[in-house]
Symmetry: C2
Subunit: 355 residues, 2 copies
């Protein structure tokens, strides 16, 4: 899933080049490339499908040159994750009704490729034979209010290879801080990594049951998948589709969800705060990415330089973020609210070139 | 006088291109060009001499293309203003011992060209016939500690055309804040604009009296001025010259100083604080020069963008300065101390490319 615009990560992430297409960590690989790299170790590139917005087709091909062009599914409108998953699932079902699938966002950070590889392969093998919805749960380290939480049913517990598998009691999207703290205190709650594993028959059954409108639209496409008119019909039905996330539309309703406990480090680089959490920090709590810097009396700040090699001199900021890109210089408190504020200003003033 | 490096105005002012060569106000003309423009209205360009450092010869010719190349005097070393003035004065004396001269820094801001023109011409006419040292004094508007102060002797007062002329009691360089406040309270003190008017015989007499070493060096050059070997000899004697300002070496000692009261607005853009003082500010006290900006809860700040047209978003800064140039991004409290701090760091780390 590579279609988001990542506006909470402005000004690095822009509608013309959202964060999955950026080398945010300065490793030389973009988040999309890192995601493909991770899966390519055990899934042939021919079996990898990238669902993205129509405008990002060229960017995708440029960044993943060995990806077959027909493996890029293009969404004409933003409809959130449920239609995206339905599109890929029904199309895949036509190709191979016995397929097993792992669904993953393109913009997450994973540390621990070995553990990742083992866990996902383990889950894929198990999902081939079991008609459940499988998720990947991550042990929380603090009450993050930007994540979804999975409550594990410790009474339904199975050891699968090296991985612990639990039945799922509840899914909760982005709780408030007190709730998140409560979740963590119980020891039963995990972060929802946003990755799913299932066999294609199971997800289609679940879509029919919980999202019948979406399922009807995409099953009506069965005769058109892999034909010259697929895109034309997709463009038509996307216009009619409701906008709904897989978490809200399906995961919170299903009764057959199970979760693998991940033994790798995972992070959704959805916001500056999450990037701050995942970045290495100096002994004053500063997460700094810049070619050359002099910092005095600076504490708990993010400094992020993109596409330039300026000398950065900062004195006296606390809990701030400084982001310097080609066309935007942002200096504001290290909160998502500040980014939202400037975005709504830009939208109001119709300065689309900066969005 | 166009040879300074303007380090207090870093990172706009750099040793490779000091502030007199910059279009600091965004008017399309550099400070040097504006200075020449002002004087050109009543002094033919052939009679204008620019004294600068050897390395700035090409910059000077580029910016003032109609200036005769032989009117650029090149200093091989930094020796402050007294040797600079002595060089030009003795050379001019050889050319025309009856010349009258106005000496001016190249990096000052003047608002009110008409009044400037009238005052300087008035002073030049008077100086032709009177063997005094004339300065231009500006009515102070606040206790600026970066300026020199002139105490006027109101008992020795003459009306010359539209200008008031006073005898000078004392010169005081850069007083502390309490002293500056006291000066202003008396009503007798003025800012020293750093411009001087005299006939060339008078300044030579004064140099001989108060700075005999400097005077001996440059009078020994009389046979070499306007010859092929002038530069070679200048390079030699500059090495031997003491480093001393005309204010300290002569003005504080002379007994024949008089001062014209200026009726134009003057400002020495020596520092960021002085630029802040001279810039227009919004109703929250922000002096902003940038192509596009969104500013929230920002107070009494300087925002200065150079050579780029980025969108600048700033939230929550007070009494800060943000300067964004080609190769430096500076975010620090709006004090000269902060700039000094980074400069000494850069010098210590031998990062000369940023100086």
């Amino acid at each position: 899933m590579s279609g988001g615009v990542g506006s909470r990560f402005w000004p690095m992430s822009r509608s013309s080049k959202p964060k999955q297409f950026l080398d945010i960590l300065g490793t030389g690989r973009t988040l999309l490339q890192m995601t493909i790299d991770r899966f390519s170790k055990f899934i042939p590139i021919e079996n990898i499908i990238v669902v993205t917005a129509a405008q990002y087709k060229d960017l995708t091909l440029e960044q993943i040159p060995n990806l077959p062009e027909e493996n890029i599914l293009l969404e004409p409108y933003k409809r959130n994750t449920a239609p995206c998953i339905a599109y890929a699932s029904y199309k895949l079902f036509k190709h191979n009704p016995n397929a097993t699938v792992v669904v993953s966002p393109a913009d997450h950070l994973i540390v621990g490729d070995e553990a990742f590889s083992t866990t996902i392969q383990n889950a894929l093998s198990y999902a081939k034979e079991h008609d459940h919805i499988f998720t990947i749960a991550v042990k929380p380290t603090f009450p993050n209010t930007n994540y979804g939480y999975i409550q594990a049913d410790t009474k339904r517990s199975i050891q699968i290879g090296k991985n612990q598998l639990y039945g799922v009691t509840t899914f909760t999207e982005k709780p408030d801080y007190e709730m998140a703290q409560l979740f963590i205190d119980t020891g039963e709650f995990y972060w929802n990594s946003g990755m799913f594993i299932w066999n294609v028959k199971t997800i289609i059954r679940e879509l029919e049951q919980h999202l019948p409108e979406v399922s009807t639209l995409f099953s009506s496409m069965l005769e058109h998948y892999f034909t010259d008119r697929e895109q034309e019909h997709i463009n038509r039905i996307y216009a009619d589709s409701t906008t709904v996330s897989i978490d809200y539309g399906l995961m919170e309703k299903t009764t057959c969800a199970w979760t693998f406990i991940a033994d790798f480090n995972w992070c959704d680089i959805g916001t500056w705060s999450s990037l701050y959490d995942s970045f290495e920090k100096d002994n004053r709590g500063n997460a700094i990415k810049c070619s050359e810097g002099i910092f005095k009396d600076m504490k708990n700040c993010i400094v992020h330089q993109a596409n330039n090699e300026k000398l950065v001199f900062i004195k006296g900021l606390e809990e701030y973020m400084v982001v310097d890109t080609n066309d935007v210089l942002m200096i504001c408190p290290r909160t998502d609210a500040a980014v939202k504020e400037v975005l709504s200003n830009l939208a109001l003033e119709e300065k689309r070139e900066y969005l």
